[in-house]
């Protein structure tokens, strides 16, 4: 290996860097047992259990028609918010973000890669949950484009909030808070419990949560065959602007 180390510096093409980074982040996520519990096991269990056993009164119609859109919203929440917050919090804590900050990968490309990794994971979740829902007798309606739009805006909203948490709190605090928020939104966000069950005052507040907007919007399209749920899209856009803006402003890399 003579003159093996002779300098020959250069950055890889940015598309290749993003692809490599996104692949690595996705592998890290799929390899992490706790993350899989959150992103795959819990949504799957909730969907099968609550569809086959009549625990919660989900209103008129088949339970799965109510639950499937809610669980899809939960899947987006688990990956874009909880999973991303915890992973990024520990990357910050272990100096991964710092080290990548000295590599040729630009920050915007790192964030792009993270988003790609979140979207790939969501596609895997959605495919799995859809197959299970069909097996449980799900009959979805509506405009697929409205569904895609809702999921993308929901992802943006949850990513902003997750990154805000990861970039400002200690990793352990992020871990605890992200799980707590996941649990609270699971119960109070119209995922498995219809918001109609809550008192009017609480309900009008809960309806403004991003998870409620996403589950309500998905349900309006997939169960009721509504067109584009503008109100829910508006709420998600508001959270996305707020969350991403605050994350961009307050995120600390070290």
């Amino acid at each position: 290996m003579s003159a093996a180390f002779a300098p020959r510096p250069g950055a890889a093409p940015v598309a290749r860097m993003i692809r490599a980074q996104a692949a690595l982040e996705t592998r890290m996520l799929l390899r992490n047992g706790e993350q899989l519990l959150l992103t795959v096991v819990i949504p799957t269990l909730l969907l099968t259990l609550f569809s086959s056993v009549d625990i919660v009164d989900t209103g008129k119609g088949k339970a799965v028609d109510f639950l499937a859109p809610g669980v899809l919203a939960l899947a987006v929440l688990s990956t874009a918010f909880t999973g991303q917050a915890i992973a990024t919090g520990f990357e910050r804590r272990y100096g991964v973000l710092k080290r990548l900050g000295a590599s040729p990968l630009p920050r915007w490309a790192l964030m792009t890669a993270k988003t790609c990794s979140v979207l790939v994971t969501e596609v895997l979740q959605i495919v799995l949950l859809t197959v299970i829902a069909f097996a449980l007798g799900w009959s979805p309606h509506g405009n697929p484009l409205a569904v895609v739009l809702l999921i993308i805006l929901g992802t943006a909203a949850f990513s902003g909030l997750g990154l805000l948490m990861a970039g400002t709190l200690r990793a352990e605090a992020t871990l605890a808070a992200a799980n707590l928020v996941f649990l609270l939104l699971l119960v109070g966000g119209g995922v498995i419990v219809p918001l109609a069950k809550f008192p009017d005052a609480a309900r009008s507040v809960l309806e403004l949560l991003p998870i409620s907007a996403l589950s309500d919007g998905l349900r309006a399209v997939l169960r009721d065959g509504a067109g584009v749920p503008w109100g829910d899209l508006g709420i998600l856009t508001g959270w996305a602007v707020l969350g991403l803006g605050a994350a961009a402003r307050f995120f600390r890399w070290e």
């Binding site: 180390f5 002779a6 020959r8 250069g10 890889a12 093409p13 991964v96």
Partner: protein
């Protein structure tokens, strides 16, 4: 391609000041690193070594002073510098769940002309743990992976922050060898260390940092020659009259019996002093055994300059 401007320094720091709150970590530091050399930044804990290096790496903005790396501003020109500069952090920097080989391949993928990853893994003795998750690697393996990550992109300049901290002697040798090869192949190396031996063995240039300033800079030889005294040791029969020996020596010399039969003369040791000591021995019927002229080590210079008391 990198030695085209070999006349210009690879790193130039002038009057660098960096404060954290009301604590001044770096206090008017000057440092110049010639292209193609290996410079060791030596200093006690808290001297300002890491802050200085991390300012050069673009992680911190100077409160005062200027920093130029390869002629560029580490913060403003970060995107131009990053592919050209290799960085080894003091700790961390790897996904805890990533495997050693996976992480190194990833760093390679971010560069246009990376080194052969398999050879590098072999070279650093990481072959046996390529499939092991980072968090399960030993401290020494983590250090070597971090070093590999710094060099895999074929940089023209590398900053290594305590590259051998926590390594066993074999791993330290392996790291020294690799660092020596980097330099031989034309890579400019800046490393921080507490190990005098490391600086003495590897460095063309040593900068001793204390209290946020460079208090001495030069080649190990220059630093060892300057200022400090040398000493001469010999063995003889126990209980020699040391005070009589001192009278025979020049005024600024001292002599003591360290342990019975083992003597040390300290002062400006030269041919004349050596002759004086052996003459005195001959006159007193002493056969001086094992005469050793002790060269001043970098450690002596370091302790002399930075004081012997423990730092809090």
């Amino acid at each position: 391609m990198c030695s085209a401007f070999s006349g210009a320094p690879a790193v130039e720091v002038h009057g660098l000041v960096k404060r954290y709150g009301n604590k001044t970590a770096v206090d008017g530091l000057d440092l110049s690193v010639a292209t193609g050399t290996l410079t060791a930044v030596l200093g006690p804990n808290g001297a300002g070594k890491t802050t200085t290096i991390e300012t050069c790496e673009g992680y911190r903005r100077p409160d005062a002073g200027t920093v130029r790396v390869l002629g560029l501003d580490p913060v403003a020109d970060a995107m131009a510098l990053r592919p050209r500069v290799g960085v080894m952090l003091q700790s961390g920097g790897v996904y805890p769940g990533a495997r050693a080989e996976e992480m190194l391949r990833h760093m390679a993928a971010l560069h246009a002309h990376p080194l052969d990853v398999d050879q590098l893994i072999e070279r650093l003795g990481l072959g046996g743990c390529g499939r092991t998750a980072y968090r399960r690697l030993s401290g020494g393996q983590q250090q070597r992976l971090s070093l590999a990550m710094a060099v895999v992109g074929r940089p023209e300049l590398v900053f290594l922050d305590e590259p051998t901290a926590g390594l066993d002697p074999q791993a330290r040798r392996a790291t020294w060898e690799l660092v020596g090869e980097l330099r031989a192949d034309g890579v400019t190396v800046v490393l921080t260390t507490h190990h005098m031996e490391e600086a003495e063995q590897l460095a063309d240039d040593v900068a001793i940092v204390d209290g946020g300033k460079v208090i001495a800079q030069g080649s190990p030889e220059e630093l060892c020659r300057g200022g400090a005294e040398n000493s001469l040791r010999f063995s003889g029969r126990p209980g020699l009259d040391v005070s009589a020996l001192v009278k025979a020596l020049p005024a600024d010399c001292a002599a003591i019996e360290l342990t019975p039969g083992s003597y040390r003369v300290s002062g400006a040791v030269g041919p004349q002093l050596l002759a004086t000591v052996t003459t005195w021995c001959a006159q007193h019927g002493v056969m001086p055994d094992r005469i050793v002229v002790e060269r001043h080590t970098l450690e002596d210079v370091f302790l002399e300059l930075t004081g012997r008391e423990l730092r809090s």
